[in-house]
């Protein structure tokens, strides 16, 4: 009877993982180039509305960010569900916006201080009352160039 001798090298050859580091490094460099560092963690719901007539924002060092929206679920028992403003890492009142903008403006280089844009990142469902209050504060400190930051898409999606 024929004997099926098991070959000594019958096992599958191991897949070479020598190129795995290269692949991972490629991914790493991709993410390093296309993303930017988070400078503040959001404590609010921040679903931006859609618009399609958008203009690109200026370079990052010429922009002051103001966030607004409902506090995210884990802050709701402390701060309630009414829409709030977030400056840097903490919730703020409308009256603090002016000082914040002045402080941010003072911290930029002198040649940039006249070309600053204020980007309003406001949640879709916020009432305009809060946004108008922010706009009034910005007018008081003469920060007149603003940008309503939006996602790129059809504006009719905002009306649900």
């Amino acid at each position: 009877m024929a004997k099926f001798t098991k070959k000594k090298k019958g096992d599958l050859p191991a897949v070479s993982t020598a190129s795995l580091p290269d692949i991972v490094f490629m991914l790493l460099f991709f993410f390093m180039t296309v993303t930017t560092m988070k400078d503040s963690s959001l404590m609010i719901k921040n679903e931006l509305p859609y618009a399609d007539q958008v203009q690109k924002l200026d370079k990052k060092d010429r922009v002051i960010y103001i966030y607004a929206g409902k506090p995210s679920p884990r802050y709701q028992d402390k701060y309630g569900t009414a829409a709030k403003i977030q400056l840097n890492d903490k919730f703020a009142d409308v009256s603090e916006v002016a000082n914040y903008v002045l402080a941010e403006r003072a911290s930029k280089r002198e040649e940039l201080q006249n070309v600053l844009t204020t980007a309003l990142k406001v949640d879709n469902e916020t009432n305009m009352g809060l946004v108008s209050d922010i706009k009034q504060e910005l007018r008081k400190v003469n920060a007149l160039k603003i940008n309503y930051t939006t996602r790129n898409g059809n504006a009719f999606q905002n009306l649900k």
Partner: protein, 206 residues
């Protein structure tokens, strides 16, 4: 005798793990920024000294109420019709402009009840304090789109290019200076033809 010729190879097996750690670190700490939006200019807080008298027919009033409904020139309107209505108003050109010149590039119906000239036409946008921000942005977007479509039409006629595309090239920091110098007069000319006069009134209190 032990081999001594070649140096021992460094084990690179853990390199992938190290790279993965770095990759995960960057995935967690960074975001892909959404840095585009609608640029607007707020009016200065102190009113101008001699506010010009503006005829009612040169003002296109858009009111958004607290139920996110639109009232355009005292008539209820759907958002999808707003762009056409705004274009019709801006492009009307029934009379003469600020310097007394007629609008020779307007293609509107020249209705004497509507705006005189694009450089006199003003769109006034009013909102309620309870209007939703998303709706407000949608309305703003439609109004900006009306301006952009008219500007694109004129830019196509004069320079065979879209105004929005020229403007984006101009604002792009990577564009070389000689291209910018070439674009600047063209953009200014189009902006002069259809100046964006979009006033955002303070909301009504109630």
């Amino acid at each position: 005798m032990a081999r001594r010729g070649a140096p021992p190879e460094v084990n690179a097996g853990s390199m992938a793990d190290i790279a993965f750690l770095l990759l995960i670190f960057f995935l967690v700490t960074t975001t892909i920024e959404t840095d585009a939006g609608l640029d607007r200019k707020l009016p200065p807080i102190e009113p101008p000294e001699n506010p010009p008298i503006i005829k009612q027919k040169n003002i296109f009033t858009v009111v958004v109420n607290k139920n996110n409904q639109l009232l355009v020139e005292d008539e209820v309107m759907e958002l999808k019709n707003l762009r056409e209505a705004a274009k019709e108003f801006l492009d009307n050109g029934a009379g003469t402009g600020e310097k007394g010149e007629p609008c020779d590039y307007c293609q509107g119906s020249k209705n004497p009840e509507s705006s005189d000239h694009p450089n006199k036409a003003i769109i006034s946008l009013q909102n309620d304090r309870l209007t939703e921000y998303g709706t407000y942005i949608a309305v703003q977007n439609e109004l900006v789109a009306a301006y952009n479509e008219l500007r694109n039409r004129e830019a196509q006629r004069l320079f065979n290019r879209d105004f929005t595309e020229m403007n984006n090239t101009y604002l792009d920091p990577k564009t070389p200076d000689n291209v910018k110098d070439d674009l600047k007069p063209k953009i200014e000319r189009i902006q002069e033809m259809y100046p964006q006069k979009l006033s955002e009134a303070e909301p009504k209190n109630n």
